[in-house]
């Protein structure tokens, strides 16, 4: 899951010279992930992993890093 998220983020949302050096706990917000990017990321994750990510859980803490994102998505309810 993390690899898919990472591939999407660095091909569609943030430019990074060498994503392979970007760590799972590195700060995505500092790297340039903004509100529009978060919106597209949520759409991607909901479709790709079949989950529902409620509006009320969209918080800086949940999108801060690849690990945070993965944890958030893993505990999210499946789209029935």
């Amino acid at each position: 899951m993390k690899e898919q998220l990472k591939a999407f983020i660095f091909s569609e949302l943030i430019y990074h010279e060498d994503p392979s050096v970007f760590g799972d706990d590195d700060d995505l917000l500092e790297a340039g992930l903004d509100s529009m990017g978060i919106m597209r990321l949520i759409m991607f994750a909901e479709k790709e992993f079949g989950v529902i990510l409620p509006d009320t859980e969209i918080e800086p803490d949940n999108v801060q890093s690849l690990n945070a994102l993965e944890n958030w998505i893993k505990q999210a309810p499946q789209n029935a």
Binding site: L13, S35, M39, T56, I58, P60, V63
Partner: protein, 475 residues
């Protein structure tokens, strides 16, 4: 002059709430007294009428205290974007020839400590009244410059007051209004918050910065604070429309929302309009040089997915003209800036016919103006104006860069992003350039991609062939 409305409110309702930021509040009388202390300290330093003073505070209560202090002293404020690298801030402070820098706490390491004035150190005092003329400069807002360096747009008291007075009337602001504020001082949106809102006796409520990434808490905050109006950027409102849990949030107090700075994607606007049936929506348009010259009160029945929204009709007494040859929008009227501020003096910017040629391509259909993009090379990146020439100038100054050009590529999240096409000397590489640019340009001006070529394509007259360059990049 610009603060006349605010000062009148201080007399009429000294104990009314003026500013609120998390748990702190200032009444009109308290704000006036803090601003007077700053003004008195500036006058003691020998600051004279019309002299520029920089503000090293982005936004919030202290930023308003600093700005009002500068204006009460008769001086002119130069807001700094603290996300800029120090090299760019140093350029701006030097180019503006500021006589003082207002801030809080430690002196920034790049700054001559003799210029620093900590507003927390300003003791209560009444400044000597100064005479302020309508044509006197009130603010210099630095944007990206086509000449290769940041460029200060110099706004007079009369120009900002013309916009603020018009906007306060349009929105029928009253002392009962509670207005959200999120724009940093260096964006011209902030002039609405500072002068229209506080001139009308309403209160300003600073949006906690973290909420811009937590849309459901953002809408809850708007409801809890009983916010009645907000002037912000489309990207935040689109986030709110799609992810703000608006269906479950009561925003009964929200009378109006205004947006400017970017094109609002129509599908997002349709959703926002449907979620907030009782809220009037306004599209404001205008480069910093005109503040706002055009506006469209959103007519819901006119919104159609797949069709961009109009920029509407002339605002604030501005006259608009479309140049027949180029389709360029020309503007004249009371909100126009006085000119560009360069090296401590004012450069006029009107064309021979006496208009400001905006560089925006527009048309008029059924009495409504429509925006069709830029004539020149200017890009809009995350809501900021970016002149490719400014990035090129910094890149060309790097040892090991033989030639370079900046292109804009469309980006679904940022609007546009700059791309640097570069010809390198053998000892140089892209990583080396990145490092230098990161030190000299703000994040939104950093190239998102690099393309290394052996030579740049040129036209027979020696000028860069941008058309060809774009084709090369696209392949």
């Amino acid at each position: 002059m610009l603060l006349d409305g605010f000062v009148r409110q201080c007399r009429l309702q000294p104990d009314a709430l003026a500013l609120a930021e998390s748990d702190s509040q200032l009444t009109y009388a308290e704000l006036l007294s803090r601003a007077q202390a700053v003004a008195a300290a500036l006058l003691t330093r020998g600051i004279q009428t019309g002299q520029p003073v920089a503000i090293h505070i982005d936004r919030g209560m202290d930023a308003v205290v600093a700005v009002f202090g500068v204006l009460l002293a008769g001086a002119c404020y130069v807001p700094l974007d603290l996300k800029n690298p120090s090299a760019r801030l140093l350029f701006i402070v030097g180019d503006a020839q500021v006589k003082a820098v207002l801030g809080l706490g430690e002196v920034p390491i790049w700054l001559d400590a003799g210029l620093w004035l900590d507003i927390a150190d300003c003791a209560d005092a009444l400044p000597q009244p100064v005479e302020i003329l309508p044509a006197g400069l009130a603010a210099i807002l630095y944007t990206s410059g086509s000449t290769g360096q940041p460029r200060g747009v110099a706004l007079s008291h009369a120009a900002i007051a013309a916009f603020a007075g018009w906007a306060a009337d349009l929105l029928a602001l009253t002392p009962q209004d509670r207005i959200a504020s999120s724009a940093p001082l260096f964006f011209d949106l902030s002039t609405f918050d500072l002068y229209a809102v506080l001139g009308a006796g309403a209160s300003l409520h600073f949006l906690p910065a973290k909420l811009t990434l937590a849309p459901a808490r953002l809408s809850a905050w708007l409801g809890e604070q009983a916010i009645s109006g907000w002037y912000t950027v489309p990207s935040l409102l689109a986030f709110l429309a799609y992810k703000g849990n608006l269906a479950q949030t009561a925003l009964a107090s929200l009378r109006f929302l205004i947006f400017a700075g970017e094109v609002f994607p129509t599908p997002a606007l349709i959703d926002l309009a449907a979620a907030l049936p009782g809220t009037a929506l306004y599209n404001f348009f205008g480069p910093t040089e005109t503040n706002v010259c055009c506006y469209w009160p959103v007519r819901r029945e006119q919104l159609q997915a797949g069709q961009s929204i109009p920029i509407g009709q002339p605002a604030a007494g501005c006259e608009l003209h479309i140049d027949a040859d180029s389709g360029e929008l020309w503007v004249r009227g009371p909100t126009l800036a006085s000119g560009y501020w360069r090296n401590g003096s004012l450069e006029p910017f009107l064309n021979r016919q006496g208009w400001y040629a905006s560089g925006d391509r527009v048309s008029i259909e059924q009495g409504e103006y429509r925006f069709h993009g830029r004539l020149g090379r200017m890009l809009k990146c995350s809501g900021y104006r970016v002149e490719p020439a400014e990035i090129e100038a910094v890149a060309n100054a790097i040892d090991g860069v033989r030639d370079c050009a900046v292109l804009g590529v469309d980006d679904p999240t940022a609007g546009q992003r700059p791309v640097l096409v570069v010809v390198l000397a053998p000892e140089m590489d892209v990583a080396g350039i990145r490092k230098v640019l990161a030190r000299q340009l703000p994040p939104y001006m950093q190239p998102s991609r690099y393309l290394v070529l052996d030579a740049l394509p040129r036209l027979p007259n020696g000028k860069l062939d941008y058309q060809r360059l774009k084709e090369i990049f696209d392949t």
